[in-house]
């Protein structure tokens, strides 16, 4: 896995009907580094992330994630975490139980994995016994990121993670992404906040620059 870049995209093309969204896009995210794609609304950032996550089939082009095709296998999703699509929360499960469920599914002891610390860092300690649908949109975003970061992974694909976060939350998430990269993880994200992206340790690139 370490021999390959985390993400390799070449000649990627996607159209919605007759409207081309991506045309000949090329992108490489070396393993252990972070890349943040920026650009205006509708330029194709989310479509690119969806294709890399294997959630959308491109019209043309080649995508490799750690040297293999992105897929829907358990092995792929054990290595990759994405927030491109919002989750539907399990009914009757509290915020803490969602976090513990993720830990247990990955063979981690919830205490050793640091569920309490994660909830604390994301400002969710006071909402540990709440059901996620009762949280505010910003708190749901924090929970989504907490769940993404609490489990082991090799690549994070985040679509505008700063969305709906207050300034303090943005700084906190950026610091956690720096830690993630320092721990050997790779990061591909789309963002509208250059300051946040720089603070998260990712290299900024524009969608225009991805078309050779």
């Amino acid at each position: 896995m370490a021999d390959h870049p985390a993400v390799e995209v070449s000649d990627l093309s996607v159209s919605y009907g007759s409207v081309p969204v991506l045309a000949g896009v090329a992108l490489t995210v070396p393993a252990g580094t972070g890349v943040c794609v920026t650009g205006e609304n509708g330029i194709g950032k989310s479509t690119l992330l969806r294709c890399v996550s294997g959630l959308q089939r491109p019209d043309d082009g080649r995508i490799r994630v750690f040297g293999a095709n992105p897929g829907s296998s358990p092995e792929f999703w054990a290595a990759v975490v994405t927030t491109v699509e919002p989750p539907t929360w399990y009914p009757g499960l509290t915020t803490r139980e969602h976090a513990e469920l993720i830990c247990r599914a990955h063979g981690q002891d919830p205490d050793e994995a640091g569920v309490d610390e994660a909830l604390d860092r994301f400002g969710l300690t006071g909402h540990a016994d709440a059901i996620p649908p009762s949280l505010s949109s910003g708190q749901k975003q924090r929970l989504t990121l907490a769940l993404a970061l609490i489990r082991p992974s090799s690549l994070l694909i985040l679509d505008e993670p700063e969305q709906r976060l207050d300034p303090e939350g943005r700084a906190s998430v950026a610091a956690m992404l720096v830690d993630y990269l320092a721990g050997g993880g790779s990061l591909l994200m789309a963002s509208h906040d250059d300051k946040f992206s720089v603070a998260s340790g990712a290299e900024l690139t524009t969608m225009e620059s991805l078309v050779p």
């Binding site: 296998s73 999703w77 539907t88 247990r104 599914a105 919830p110 059901i131 649908p133």
Partner: protein, 496 residues
């Protein structure tokens, strides 16, 4: 000073605009289809309807008649409380509830409609019970009394909607009344067997006096309720508007998940949860379902209360009780399958868990299977205790029935949304959409694996070990085939 705007011209204006956008031919076509449907269904079922509502001679004792009356009253009151009963359409709730119009005039049409519905349902229940239990000469006053009681229950529901304290009391009372009816039915079936009573009824004139007194009481109650109608708090009206709006969406969109989603959302929003850990030995998703079962105590109590239903149906055609055992097992199994429904609709959390669809489904089958097993075990034991089953190891039949019921519940939860892209069927009564039909059978169709059990219970002959083994093997092979055929160890998505 606030000026009250007359409501009638506003409503008339809205109605005229709506009518101008509606195709007259389409409205007439809908009326034609509805009339034809009623005529055809009536012609097809009039004999069965006559048996249900008006048998040639009374065949029900006083005790079961009282029990059915209590059951009917309890469920009618619960239904009215669940719907509102005072409600508005969603557009009216948005545009008119906040307008300076007379609140009483705004809500009166809804109250009239609710009163008509409550009285009609109560009249139907009263007709059926009076037809089965009383001399037909006395049925008129009894039906009138039942209708007035239905209207009276509506008034209780309206007061409960307005006054929060009464809401809890009324809901508990309705549950208690329904539970008392069910217990009386079981007691009558197991021990008493009350025969039909032709004599001993009050005279017609006495019954008419009771009806008159009831009419006066309901009339006075209606006047008081209408007087205070404007005091119904906005939040209760908005809540009722959301409920009825969702019910209409479900009816017009033929999409039952709208209502089930709403019910689930409200249930969990009203609960105060404390985070807990499932037993570490359980597989991770089975553990999650285990937590869910612990948190659904009210549903478990309802399910427990429903276990005598197959026993009560032993007087009906033999297949009815057998079918009730299988259907009850499926419904019991469905206690935790909202999690499967969540994963089937949106696989984001399954991707985060990185569990294969086969593992996920296998882990999700245990608790539904256990609940279906427990429910069918109690139902079969009750039937055996009442002597309605011949000799044989009937309780053991609950093992395969549990597997089948759990499987059917999980399959039902994976059905997702109604597919409206399927080819429609043209019939003389109009076009029938096949999507809702396919959706309705997704889940119950798995009960086909329980046909040997259905035959065994229906036939009334001793249960042999051969049949039991055959049913067990069929259930296990069916479950295995379902897992192998609809899941993949190399895929996390749980779509069916």
């Amino acid at each position: 000073m606030t000026v009250i705007v007359p409501l009638r011209p506003v409503r008339r204006w809205i109605h005229q605009r709506q009518v101008s956008h509606r195709e007259r031919a389409a409205t007439l076509g809908n009326l034609y289809v509805a009339a034809l449907l009623i005529a055809v269904v009536g012609a097809m079922t009039h004999e069965q309807l006559a048996k249900i509502f008006w048998p040639s001679r009374p065949d029900l004792g006083a005790l079961p008649a009282l029990a059915l009356s209590l059951l009917g009253a309890g469920f009618l009151l619960r239904t009215m409380r669940a719907v509102g009963p005072v409600t508005l359409g969603r557009p009216a709730a948005y545009f008119l509830l906040t307008a300076p119009v007379s609140r009483r005039r705004l809500l009166l049409p809804s109250l009239r409609l609710a009163a008509l519905a409550a009285a009609s349902v109560a009249a139907l229940i009263a007709t059926a019970i009076a037809g089965h239990a009383a001399p037909h000469a006395l049925a008129g006053p009894l039906i009138a009394a039942g209708t007035l009681l239905g209207a009276g229950l509506l008034l209780v529901a309206v007061v409960a909607q307005r006054v929060r304290v009464w809401a809890t009391v009324t809901d508990r009372l309705a549950t208690l009344v329904a539970a008392a009816g069910l217990i009386l039915l079981v007691v009558d079936n197991l021990a008493i067997g009350d025969p039909p009573a032709i004599d001993g009824w009050p005279s017609r004139s006495a019954l008419l006096s009771v009806v008159l007194a009831l009419a006066v009481a309901v009339g006075a109650g209606t006047a008081l309720v209408v007087r205070d109608l404007a005091r119904t708090p906005d939040d209760r009206i908005l809540e009722a508007a959301k409920t009825t709006g969702t019910i209409f969406d479900t009816a017009f969109g033929m999409e039952p998940s709208f209502v089930t989603d709403m019910v689930a959302r409200r249930y969990w929003t009203s609960r105060r949860l404390t985070s807990a850990r499932p037993p570490a030995r359980l597989p991770v998703l089975t553990g999650q379902d285990f937590l869910m079962v612990r948190r659904r105590l009210p549903r478990l109590l309802w399910l427990l209360a429903a276990t005598p239903i197959p026993l009560l149906l032993t007087a009906a055609p033999p297949w009815a009780a057998a079918l009730a055992v299988l259907a009850g097992a499926m419904i019991a199994g469905g206690t935790t399958t909202r999690t499967v429904n969540t994963d089937a609709g949106n696989p984001v959390l399954l991707r985060l868990l990185a569990i294969s669809s086969r593992q996920a489904l296998l882990q999700r089958l245990w608790i539904p299977g256990a609940l279906a097993f427990a429910w069918s075990l109690i139902a079969l034991l009750l039937m055996q205790l009442a002597g309605d089953l011949p000799a044989g190891p009937w309780p053991l039949l609950s093992v395969p029935v549990g597997v089948v019921g759990g499987l059917a519940a999980v399959r039902r939860a994976r059905a997702g949304f109604v597919r409206n892209d399927l080819l429609p069927l043209d019939t003389p009564m109009g076009t029938v959409s096949t999507g809702p039909l396919v959706y309705a059978f997704a889940g119950p169709d798995a009960l086909i694996l329980g046909i040997p059990a259905l035959i065994a219970i229906s036939q009334g002959t001793a249960l042999t070990w051969t049949l039991l083994l055959f049913q067990t093997a069929l259930a296990l092979i069916g479950a295995r085939a379902y897992l192998a055929g609809t899941t993949d160890p190399e895929r996390v998505e749980l779509q069916s």
